[in-house]
Subunit: 255 residues, 2 copies
Amino acid sequence: MISVVILGAGNVGTHLFKAFNKAENIIVNQWFSRKTKPIDLYKNTVEVTDNLSSLKEADVYVLAVSDDVISNLSSKLTFENRLVVHTSGSVGIHDLDKKHRRGVFYPLQTFSKEADMDFSNVPICIEAMDKNDFNTLKLLAESIGSTSYKVSTEQRSSLHLAAVFANNFTNQLYRIAHEITESKSVEFDVLKPLILETAKKIQTMSPYMAQTGPAKRNDKKTIKKHLKLLEGSHHKDIYELLTASIQHTHGRKKL
Amino acid sequence: MISVVILGAGNVGTHLFKAFNKAENIIVNQWFSRKTKPIDLYKNTVEVTDNLSSLKEADVYVLAVSDDVISNLSSKLTFENRLVVHTSGSVGIHDLDKKHRRGVFYPLQTFSKEADMDFSNVPICIEAMDKNDFNTLKLLAESIGSTSYKVSTEQRSSLHLAAVFANNFTNQLYRIAHEITESKSVEFDVLKPLILETAKKIQTMSPYMAQTGPAKRNDKKTIKKHLKLLEGSHHKDIYELLTASIQHTHGRKKL
Protein backbone atom coordinates (compact mmCIF):
# COMPACT_ATOMS: atom_id res chain seq x y z
CA MET A 1 0.00 0.00 0.00
CA ILE A 2 1.31 3.46 -0.91
CA SER A 3 0.04 6.40 1.11
CA VAL A 4 -0.20 9.78 -0.59
CA VAL A 5 -0.91 13.39 0.30
CA ILE A 6 -1.98 15.56 -2.64
CA LEU A 7 -1.27 19.30 -2.61
CA GLY A 8 -3.22 21.33 -5.15
CA ALA A 9 -6.78 21.10 -6.44
CA GLY A 10 -6.45 22.15 -10.06
CA ASN A 11 -7.01 19.90 -13.08
CA VAL A 12 -4.01 17.65 -12.48
CA GLY A 13 -4.53 17.43 -8.73
CA THR A 14 -8.19 16.53 -9.13
CA HIS A 15 -7.58 13.88 -11.81
CA LEU A 16 -4.76 12.38 -9.76
CA PHE A 17 -6.95 12.31 -6.65
CA LYS A 18 -9.68 10.43 -8.52
CA ALA A 19 -7.22 7.93 -9.97
CA PHE A 20 -5.35 7.37 -6.67
CA ASN A 21 -8.61 7.06 -4.79
CA LYS A 22 -9.82 4.35 -7.19
CA ALA A 23 -6.60 2.34 -7.12
CA GLU A 24 -6.58 -0.69 -4.84
CA ASN A 25 -3.11 -0.28 -3.38
CA ILE A 26 -3.07 3.52 -2.92
CA ILE A 27 -4.53 5.41 -0.01
CA VAL A 28 -4.92 9.19 -0.11
CA ASN A 29 -4.30 10.34 3.44
CA GLN A 30 -5.08 13.99 2.82
CA TRP A 31 -5.79 16.57 0.16
CA PHE A 32 -4.40 20.06 0.72
CA SER A 33 -5.55 23.18 -1.06
CA ARG A 34 -5.20 26.83 -0.14
CA LYS A 35 -8.88 27.18 -0.96
CA THR A 36 -10.79 24.05 0.01
CA LYS A 37 -14.20 25.16 -1.25
CA PRO A 38 -13.92 23.65 -4.76
CA ILE A 39 -13.07 20.25 -3.28
CA ASP A 40 -15.48 20.27 -0.35
CA LEU A 41 -17.60 17.75 -2.25
CA TYR A 42 -14.85 15.16 -1.69
CA LYS A 43 -14.91 15.63 2.11
CA ASN A 44 -16.72 12.35 2.70
CA THR A 45 -14.03 10.46 0.78
CA VAL A 46 -10.83 12.15 1.93
CA GLU A 47 -9.61 14.52 4.61
CA VAL A 48 -9.44 17.98 3.09
CA THR A 49 -7.26 20.68 4.63
CA ASP A 50 -6.01 24.22 3.99
CA ASN A 51 -3.51 24.06 6.83
CA LEU A 52 0.03 23.27 5.74
CA SER A 53 1.29 22.61 9.25
CA SER A 54 -1.25 19.86 9.85
CA LEU A 55 -0.13 17.59 7.00
CA LYS A 56 -0.19 13.90 7.83
CA GLU A 57 2.61 11.46 7.29
CA ALA A 58 2.63 9.72 3.90
CA ASP A 59 4.93 7.81 1.54
CA VAL A 60 4.62 10.44 -1.20
CA TYR A 61 3.65 14.12 -1.22
CA VAL A 62 2.43 15.13 -4.68
CA LEU A 63 2.69 18.86 -5.42
CA ALA A 64 0.15 19.37 -8.22
CA VAL A 65 0.47 23.15 -8.27
CA SER A 66 1.51 25.72 -10.85
CA ASP A 67 5.17 25.94 -11.81
CA ASP A 68 5.70 29.28 -10.07
CA VAL A 69 4.82 28.08 -6.60
CA ILE A 70 6.47 24.62 -6.54
CA SER A 71 9.77 25.80 -5.07
CA ASN A 72 8.20 27.99 -2.43
CA LEU A 73 5.59 25.42 -1.39
CA SER A 74 8.24 22.71 -1.04
CA SER A 75 10.23 24.98 1.33
CA LYS A 76 7.18 25.70 3.45
CA LEU A 77 6.56 22.02 4.21
CA THR A 78 7.39 21.59 7.88
CA PHE A 79 8.85 18.09 7.67
CA GLU A 80 12.11 16.76 6.22
CA ASN A 81 13.54 13.71 4.51
CA ARG A 82 10.23 12.54 3.03
CA LEU A 83 9.51 11.89 -0.67
CA VAL A 84 8.16 15.09 -2.24
CA VAL A 85 7.42 15.20 -5.98
CA HIS A 86 6.08 17.82 -8.36
CA THR A 87 4.03 17.16 -11.51
CA SER A 88 5.46 19.79 -13.85
CA GLY A 89 6.98 19.32 -17.28
CA SER A 90 9.32 22.27 -17.13
CA VAL A 91 10.45 22.64 -13.52
CA GLY A 92 13.72 20.97 -12.48
CA ILE A 93 13.94 18.37 -9.75
CA HIS A 94 16.37 20.64 -7.88
CA ASP A 95 13.76 23.37 -7.61
CA LEU A 96 12.30 21.29 -4.78
CA ASP A 97 13.73 22.14 -1.36
CA LYS A 98 16.75 19.97 -0.68
CA LYS A 99 15.56 19.06 2.82
CA HIS A 100 13.26 16.53 1.06
CA ARG A 101 13.86 13.31 -0.81
CA ARG A 102 12.94 14.69 -4.22
CA GLY A 103 11.20 13.40 -7.33
CA VAL A 104 9.06 14.24 -10.35
CA PHE A 105 5.80 12.61 -11.39
CA TYR A 106 4.84 14.31 -14.68
CA PRO A 107 1.71 13.06 -16.44
CA LEU A 108 2.10 13.93 -20.13
CA GLN A 109 -1.46 14.43 -21.28
CA THR A 110 -4.03 17.16 -21.88
CA PHE A 111 -6.55 17.25 -19.02
CA SER A 112 -10.07 18.56 -19.37
CA LYS A 113 -11.92 19.54 -16.24
CA GLU A 114 -15.13 17.80 -17.32
CA ALA A 115 -14.28 14.33 -18.56
CA ASP A 116 -12.80 11.65 -16.31
CA MET A 117 -9.27 10.71 -17.36
CA ASP A 118 -8.38 7.12 -18.19
CA PHE A 119 -4.82 6.94 -16.87
CA SER A 120 -3.99 4.00 -19.12
CA ASN A 121 -3.75 6.77 -21.77
CA VAL A 122 -1.48 8.93 -19.62
CA PRO A 123 2.27 8.25 -19.79
CA ILE A 124 3.99 9.31 -16.57
CA CYS A 125 7.53 10.67 -16.72
CA ILE A 126 9.37 9.80 -13.54
CA GLU A 127 12.55 11.16 -12.01
CA ALA A 128 13.95 10.60 -8.52
CA MET A 129 17.25 11.21 -6.71
CA ASP A 130 17.04 7.84 -4.97
CA LYS A 131 16.50 4.39 -6.47
CA ASN A 132 13.93 3.26 -3.88
CA ASP A 133 11.95 6.45 -4.39
CA PHE A 134 12.07 5.88 -8.13
CA ASN A 135 10.56 2.42 -7.61
CA THR A 136 7.84 3.84 -5.37
CA LEU A 137 6.88 6.35 -8.06
CA LYS A 138 6.95 3.66 -10.73
CA LEU A 139 4.60 1.53 -8.64
CA LEU A 140 2.39 4.57 -8.05
CA ALA A 141 2.11 5.13 -11.83
CA GLU A 142 1.45 1.47 -12.55
CA SER A 143 -1.19 1.31 -9.82
CA ILE A 144 -3.35 3.81 -11.69
CA GLY A 145 -2.82 1.97 -14.99
CA SER A 146 -0.25 4.33 -16.49
CA THR A 147 2.89 3.46 -18.41
CA SER A 148 5.90 5.04 -16.72
CA TYR A 149 9.08 6.34 -18.34
CA LYS A 150 12.38 7.20 -16.69
CA VAL A 151 13.05 10.74 -17.86
CA SER A 152 15.76 13.18 -16.73
CA THR A 153 15.06 16.88 -16.11
CA GLU A 154 16.68 17.78 -19.44
CA GLN A 155 14.66 15.14 -21.29
CA ARG A 156 11.48 16.25 -19.55
CA SER A 157 12.06 19.84 -20.69
CA SER A 158 12.36 18.69 -24.28
CA LEU A 159 9.22 16.54 -23.94
CA HIS A 160 7.35 19.53 -22.57
CA LEU A 161 8.53 21.58 -25.54
CA ALA A 162 7.67 18.82 -28.02
CA ALA A 163 4.22 18.59 -26.41
CA VAL A 164 3.62 22.25 -27.26
CA PHE A 165 4.13 21.37 -30.93
CA ALA A 166 2.10 18.16 -30.75
CA ASN A 167 -0.74 19.62 -28.72
CA ASN A 168 -1.05 23.44 -28.61
CA PHE A 169 0.30 24.17 -32.09
CA THR A 170 -1.55 21.24 -33.64
CA ASN A 171 -4.74 22.47 -32.03
CA GLN A 172 -4.10 25.92 -33.50
CA LEU A 173 -3.86 24.35 -36.96
CA TYR A 174 -7.26 22.76 -36.30
CA ARG A 175 -8.47 26.24 -35.36
CA ILE A 176 -7.19 27.71 -38.64
CA ALA A 177 -8.83 24.85 -40.57
CA HIS A 178 -12.01 25.77 -38.70
CA GLU A 179 -11.65 29.43 -39.72
CA ILE A 180 -11.08 28.47 -43.36
CA THR A 181 -14.13 26.20 -43.58
CA GLU A 182 -16.31 28.64 -41.66
CA SER A 183 -15.48 31.45 -44.06
CA LYS A 184 -17.08 29.40 -46.87
CA SER A 185 -19.96 28.12 -44.73
CA VAL A 186 -18.70 24.55 -44.75
CA GLU A 187 -19.22 22.42 -41.66
CA PHE A 188 -15.98 21.82 -39.73
CA ASP A 189 -17.40 18.34 -39.05
CA VAL A 190 -16.31 17.26 -42.54
CA LEU A 191 -12.68 17.53 -41.39
CA LYS A 192 -13.02 15.65 -38.10
CA PRO A 193 -12.47 12.11 -39.42
CA LEU A 194 -9.34 13.31 -41.26
CA ILE A 195 -7.99 14.92 -38.09
CA LEU A 196 -8.54 11.72 -36.12
CA GLU A 197 -7.01 9.53 -38.83
CA THR A 198 -3.93 11.80 -39.04
CA ALA A 199 -3.31 11.28 -35.32
CA LYS A 200 -4.03 7.54 -35.53
CA LYS A 201 -1.70 7.04 -38.47
CA ILE A 202 1.43 8.02 -36.52
CA GLN A 203 0.62 5.58 -33.71
CA THR A 204 2.11 2.87 -35.95
CA MET A 205 4.03 4.85 -38.60
CA SER A 206 6.66 7.58 -38.20
CA PRO A 207 5.48 11.12 -39.05
CA TYR A 208 8.18 11.13 -41.72
CA MET A 209 6.65 8.11 -43.46
CA ALA A 210 3.10 9.35 -42.93
CA GLN A 211 3.60 12.66 -44.77
CA THR A 212 1.65 13.34 -47.99
CA GLY A 213 0.30 16.40 -49.80
CA PRO A 214 1.33 19.23 -52.11
CA ALA A 215 4.38 20.37 -50.09
CA LYS A 216 5.91 16.91 -50.01
CA ARG A 217 5.12 16.32 -53.71
CA ASN A 218 6.42 19.82 -54.50
CA ASP A 219 3.14 20.40 -56.36
CA LYS A 220 3.72 24.07 -57.14
CA LYS A 221 0.40 24.54 -58.93
CA THR A 222 -1.64 23.50 -55.88
CA ILE A 223 0.58 25.46 -53.48
CA LYS A 224 0.08 28.58 -55.59
CA LYS A 225 -3.68 28.00 -55.72
CA HIS A 226 -3.80 27.61 -51.93
CA LEU A 227 -1.78 30.77 -51.27
CA LYS A 228 -4.20 32.68 -53.48
CA LEU A 229 -7.20 31.29 -51.59
CA LEU A 230 -5.82 32.22 -48.16
CA GLU A 231 -7.29 35.35 -46.67
CA GLY A 232 -5.02 37.41 -44.45
CA SER A 233 -1.25 37.44 -44.38
CA HIS A 234 -1.24 35.56 -41.11
CA HIS A 235 -2.57 32.26 -42.52
CA LYS A 236 -0.34 32.75 -45.57
CA ASP A 237 2.78 33.06 -43.39
CA ILE A 238 1.95 29.81 -41.61
CA TYR A 239 1.22 28.05 -44.92
CA GLU A 240 4.54 29.17 -46.37
CA LEU A 241 6.62 28.35 -43.31
CA LEU A 242 5.17 24.87 -42.82
CA THR A 243 5.38 24.11 -46.53
CA ALA A 244 9.08 25.05 -46.44
CA SER A 245 9.50 22.93 -43.32
CA ILE A 246 8.00 19.85 -45.02
CA GLN A 247 10.16 20.42 -48.10
CA HIS A 248 13.19 20.76 -45.89
CA THR A 249 12.41 17.48 -44.08
CA HIS A 250 11.81 15.67 -47.34
CA GLY A 251 14.93 16.96 -49.03
CA ARG A 252 13.33 19.43 -51.42
CA LYS A 253 14.61 22.62 -49.93
CA LYS A 254 17.50 24.02 -47.92
CA LEU A 255 16.44 26.38 -45.16
CA MET B 1 -28.37 -1.33 -58.09
CA ILE B 2 -25.80 1.27 -59.19
CA SER B 3 -23.29 0.21 -61.85
CA VAL B 4 -19.87 1.82 -61.82
CA VAL B 5 -16.74 1.95 -63.96
CA ILE B 6 -13.59 3.01 -62.09
CA LEU B 7 -10.78 4.75 -63.97
CA GLY B 8 -7.45 4.86 -62.17
CA ALA B 9 -5.66 2.37 -59.93
CA GLY B 10 -3.88 4.58 -57.40
CA ASN B 11 -4.67 4.74 -53.69
CA VAL B 12 -8.12 6.29 -54.05
CA GLY B 13 -9.14 4.13 -57.01
CA THR B 14 -8.11 0.96 -55.24
CA HIS B 15 -9.84 1.83 -51.97
CA LEU B 16 -12.99 2.83 -53.85
CA PHE B 17 -12.91 -0.41 -55.83
CA LYS B 18 -12.73 -2.47 -52.65
CA ALA B 19 -15.57 -0.53 -51.03
CA PHE B 20 -17.81 -0.58 -54.12
CA ASN B 21 -17.11 -4.26 -54.64
CA LYS B 22 -18.16 -5.05 -51.08
CA ALA B 23 -21.37 -2.98 -51.16
CA GLU B 24 -24.58 -4.91 -51.78
CA ASN B 25 -26.22 -2.51 -54.20
CA ILE B 26 -23.17 -1.51 -56.26
CA ILE B 27 -21.72 -3.45 -59.17
CA VAL B 28 -18.33 -2.56 -60.63
CA ASN B 29 -18.65 -3.25 -64.35
CA GLN B 30 -15.04 -2.51 -65.20
CA TRP B 31 -11.78 -1.13 -63.85
CA PHE B 32 -9.65 0.87 -66.27
CA SER B 33 -5.99 1.67 -65.78
CA ARG B 34 -3.31 2.68 -68.28
CA LYS B 35 -1.13 0.06 -66.68
CA THR B 36 -3.15 -2.94 -65.59
CA LYS B 37 -0.31 -4.91 -64.03
CA PRO B 38 -0.71 -3.62 -60.46
CA ILE B 39 -4.40 -4.60 -60.48
CA ASP B 40 -4.09 -7.90 -62.29
CA LEU B 41 -4.72 -9.64 -58.96
CA TYR B 42 -8.32 -8.39 -59.09
CA LYS B 43 -8.98 -9.95 -62.51
CA ASN B 44 -11.07 -12.74 -61.04
CA THR B 45 -13.34 -10.23 -59.34
CA VAL B 46 -13.72 -7.52 -61.98
CA GLU B 47 -13.03 -6.94 -65.65
CA VAL B 48 -9.75 -5.05 -65.91
CA THR B 49 -8.92 -3.05 -69.05
CA ASP B 50 -6.34 -0.62 -70.40
CA ASN B 51 -8.42 0.16 -73.47
CA LEU B 52 -10.40 3.40 -73.20
CA SER B 53 -12.51 2.70 -76.26
CA SER B 54 -13.84 -0.55 -74.84
CA LEU B 55 -15.44 0.95 -71.74
CA LYS B 56 -18.77 -0.63 -70.81
CA GLU B 57 -21.96 1.21 -70.08
CA ALA B 58 -22.47 2.20 -66.42
CA ASP B 59 -24.48 4.58 -64.23
CA VAL B 60 -21.34 6.34 -62.96
CA TYR B 61 -17.78 6.68 -64.29
CA VAL B 62 -15.41 7.49 -61.44
CA LEU B 63 -12.17 9.21 -62.52
CA ALA B 64 -9.79 8.45 -59.63
CA VAL B 65 -6.75 9.92 -61.36
CA SER B 66 -4.31 12.73 -60.56
CA ASP B 67 -5.54 16.30 -60.91
CA ASP B 68 -3.46 17.03 -64.00
CA VAL B 69 -5.06 14.38 -66.18
CA ILE B 70 -8.73 14.67 -65.19
CA SER B 71 -9.68 17.15 -67.90
CA ASN B 72 -7.85 15.33 -70.67
CA LEU B 73 -9.12 11.89 -69.67
CA SER B 74 -12.71 13.12 -69.55
CA SER B 75 -12.37 14.45 -73.11
CA LYS B 76 -10.98 11.18 -74.36
CA LEU B 77 -13.99 9.18 -73.20
CA THR B 78 -15.78 8.12 -76.39
CA PHE B 79 -19.34 8.35 -75.07
CA GLU B 80 -21.54 11.32 -74.20
CA ASN B 81 -24.27 12.33 -71.79
CA ARG B 82 -23.34 9.86 -69.09
CA LEU B 83 -22.50 10.68 -65.44
CA VAL B 84 -18.75 11.23 -65.13
CA VAL B 85 -17.26 12.29 -61.79
CA HIS B 86 -13.77 13.02 -60.52
CA THR B 87 -12.50 12.48 -56.97
CA SER B 88 -10.28 15.54 -56.55
CA GLY B 89 -10.42 18.19 -53.86
CA SER B 90 -9.05 20.99 -55.94
CA VAL B 91 -10.27 20.49 -59.51
CA GLY B 92 -13.47 22.27 -60.58
CA ILE B 93 -16.54 20.41 -61.84
CA HIS B 94 -16.25 22.35 -65.11
CA ASP B 95 -12.83 20.89 -65.80
CA LEU B 96 -14.70 17.76 -66.87
CA ASP B 97 -15.61 17.70 -70.58
CA LYS B 98 -19.02 19.27 -71.06
CA LYS B 99 -20.22 16.44 -73.29
CA HIS B 100 -20.81 14.49 -70.03
CA ARG B 101 -23.25 14.83 -67.17
CA ARG B 102 -20.72 15.99 -64.62
CA GLY B 103 -20.13 15.52 -60.93
CA VAL B 104 -17.59 15.31 -58.11
CA PHE B 105 -17.18 12.52 -55.57
CA TYR B 106 -14.39 13.70 -53.26
CA PRO B 107 -13.50 11.45 -50.32
CA LEU B 108 -11.90 13.68 -47.68
CA GLN B 109 -9.52 11.34 -45.91
CA THR B 110 -5.88 10.28 -45.88
CA PHE B 111 -5.44 6.93 -47.60
CA SER B 112 -2.63 4.52 -46.88
CA LYS B 113 -1.87 1.87 -49.45
CA GLU B 114 -1.54 -0.88 -46.85
CA ALA B 115 -4.51 -0.68 -44.51
CA ASP B 116 -8.07 -1.25 -45.67
CA MET B 117 -10.18 1.87 -45.37
CA ASP B 118 -13.38 1.88 -43.35
CA PHE B 119 -15.55 4.26 -45.38
CA SER B 120 -17.77 5.04 -42.41
CA ASN B 121 -14.79 7.26 -41.45
CA VAL B 122 -14.62 8.88 -44.88
CA PRO B 123 -16.87 11.89 -45.51
CA ILE B 124 -17.67 12.26 -49.20
CA CYS B 125 -18.12 15.73 -50.68
CA ILE B 126 -20.58 15.60 -53.53
CA GLU B 127 -21.32 18.02 -56.33
CA ALA B 128 -23.42 17.50 -59.45
CA MET B 129 -24.92 19.65 -62.20
CA ASP B 130 -28.16 17.67 -62.13
CA LYS B 131 -30.40 16.82 -59.20
CA ASN B 132 -30.91 13.14 -60.18
CA ASP B 133 -27.18 12.71 -60.59
CA PHE B 134 -26.65 14.27 -57.19
CA ASN B 135 -29.02 11.71 -55.67
CA THR B 136 -27.22 8.86 -57.44
CA LEU B 137 -23.90 10.02 -55.97
CA LYS B 138 -25.45 10.43 -52.54
CA LEU B 139 -26.75 6.86 -52.71
CA LEU B 140 -23.34 5.68 -53.92
CA ALA B 141 -21.69 7.29 -50.88
CA GLU B 142 -24.25 5.92 -48.45
CA SER B 143 -23.96 2.44 -49.96
CA ILE B 144 -20.32 2.24 -48.86
CA GLY B 145 -21.19 3.55 -45.39
CA SER B 146 -19.95 7.12 -45.90
CA THR B 147 -21.58 10.33 -44.75
CA SER B 148 -22.10 12.62 -47.74
CA TYR B 149 -22.00 16.40 -47.83
CA LYS B 150 -23.26 18.73 -50.55
CA VAL B 151 -20.25 20.90 -51.32
CA SER B 152 -19.77 23.46 -54.11
CA THR B 153 -16.50 23.73 -56.08
CA GLU B 154 -15.54 26.85 -54.10
CA GLN B 155 -16.33 25.16 -50.79
CA ARG B 156 -14.43 22.05 -51.84
CA SER B 157 -11.33 24.14 -52.62
CA SER B 158 -11.43 25.62 -49.16
CA LEU B 159 -11.90 22.17 -47.60
CA HIS B 160 -8.91 20.93 -49.56
CA LEU B 161 -6.89 23.86 -48.27
CA ALA B 162 -8.12 23.36 -44.69
CA ALA B 163 -7.18 19.68 -44.99
CA VAL B 164 -3.58 20.68 -45.71
CA PHE B 165 -3.52 22.46 -42.34
CA ALA B 166 -5.35 19.68 -40.50
CA ASN B 167 -3.40 16.83 -42.09
CA ASN B 168 -0.05 17.72 -43.77
CA PHE B 169 0.92 20.61 -41.51
CA THR B 170 -0.26 18.83 -38.37
CA ASN B 171 1.79 15.82 -39.37
CA GLN B 172 4.82 18.08 -39.83
CA LEU B 173 4.37 19.32 -36.25
CA TYR B 174 4.41 15.66 -35.17
CA ARG B 175 7.61 15.33 -37.15
CA ILE B 176 9.20 18.29 -35.36
CA ALA B 177 8.10 16.87 -32.00
CA HIS B 178 9.79 13.65 -33.09
CA GLU B 179 13.01 15.54 -33.93
CA ILE B 180 12.96 17.33 -30.56
CA THR B 181 12.52 14.14 -28.52
CA GLU B 182 15.02 12.21 -30.61
CA SER B 183 17.71 14.85 -30.06
CA LYS B 184 17.49 14.11 -26.30
CA SER B 185 17.13 10.33 -26.74
CA VAL B 186 13.54 10.31 -25.52
CA GLU B 187 11.10 7.82 -27.06
CA PHE B 188 8.57 9.52 -29.35
CA ASP B 189 6.08 6.95 -27.99
CA VAL B 190 5.68 9.07 -24.84
CA LEU B 191 3.90 11.70 -26.97
CA LYS B 192 1.55 9.40 -28.86
CA PRO B 193 -1.30 9.33 -26.32
CA LEU B 194 -1.21 13.15 -26.17
CA ILE B 195 -1.38 13.38 -29.96
CA LEU B 196 -4.39 11.06 -30.08
CA GLU B 197 -6.16 12.88 -27.24
CA THR B 198 -5.59 16.26 -28.93
CA ALA B 199 -7.37 14.99 -32.04
CA LYS B 200 -10.13 13.30 -30.02
CA LYS B 201 -10.78 16.41 -27.96
CA ILE B 202 -11.97 18.49 -30.91
CA GLN B 203 -14.44 15.81 -32.01
CA THR B 204 -16.77 17.23 -29.34
CA MET B 205 -15.23 20.62 -28.49
CA SER B 206 -14.24 23.51 -30.78
CA PRO B 207 -10.47 23.98 -31.29
CA TYR B 208 -10.96 27.44 -29.78
CA MET B 209 -12.31 25.99 -26.54
CA ALA B 210 -9.78 23.14 -26.53
CA GLN B 211 -6.70 25.40 -26.56
CA THR B 212 -4.33 25.37 -23.57
CA GLY B 213 -0.61 25.98 -23.00
CA PRO B 214 1.94 28.75 -22.55
CA ALA B 215 0.94 30.78 -25.63
CA LYS B 216 -2.70 30.98 -24.59
CA ARG B 217 -1.79 31.75 -20.98
CA ASN B 218 0.80 34.28 -22.21
CA ASP B 219 3.31 32.53 -19.95
CA LYS B 220 6.37 34.50 -21.06
CA LYS B 221 8.78 32.63 -18.82
CA THR B 222 7.99 29.25 -20.37
CA ILE B 223 7.96 30.66 -23.91
CA LYS B 224 11.41 32.15 -23.34
CA LYS B 225 12.68 28.85 -21.92
CA HIS B 226 11.32 26.96 -24.94
CA LEU B 227 12.88 29.34 -27.46
CA LYS B 228 16.21 28.88 -25.72
CA LEU B 229 15.87 25.09 -25.89
CA LEU B 230 15.07 25.03 -29.61
CA GLU B 231 17.94 24.12 -31.84
CA GLY B 232 18.01 25.68 -35.29
CA SER B 233 16.29 28.85 -36.42
CA HIS B 234 13.77 26.83 -38.40
CA HIS B 235 11.99 25.30 -35.36
CA LYS B 236 12.25 28.68 -33.60
CA ASP B 237 10.46 30.44 -36.47
CA ILE B 238 7.60 27.95 -36.32
CA TYR B 239 7.40 28.24 -32.53
CA GLU B 240 7.22 32.03 -32.72
CA LEU B 241 4.71 32.17 -35.55
CA LEU B 242 2.30 29.65 -34.04
CA THR B 243 2.63 31.22 -30.60
CA ALA B 244 1.70 34.58 -32.13
CA SER B 245 -1.16 32.92 -33.97
CA ILE B 246 -2.59 31.44 -30.75
CA GLN B 247 -2.23 34.79 -28.97
CA HIS B 248 -3.98 36.49 -31.88
CA THR B 249 -6.87 33.99 -31.74
CA HIS B 250 -7.21 34.37 -28.00
CA GLY B 251 -7.04 38.14 -28.00
CA ARG B 252 -3.55 38.61 -26.60
CA LYS B 253 -1.88 40.04 -29.63
CA LYS B 254 -2.58 42.06 -32.76
CA LEU B 255 -0.91 40.66 -35.87
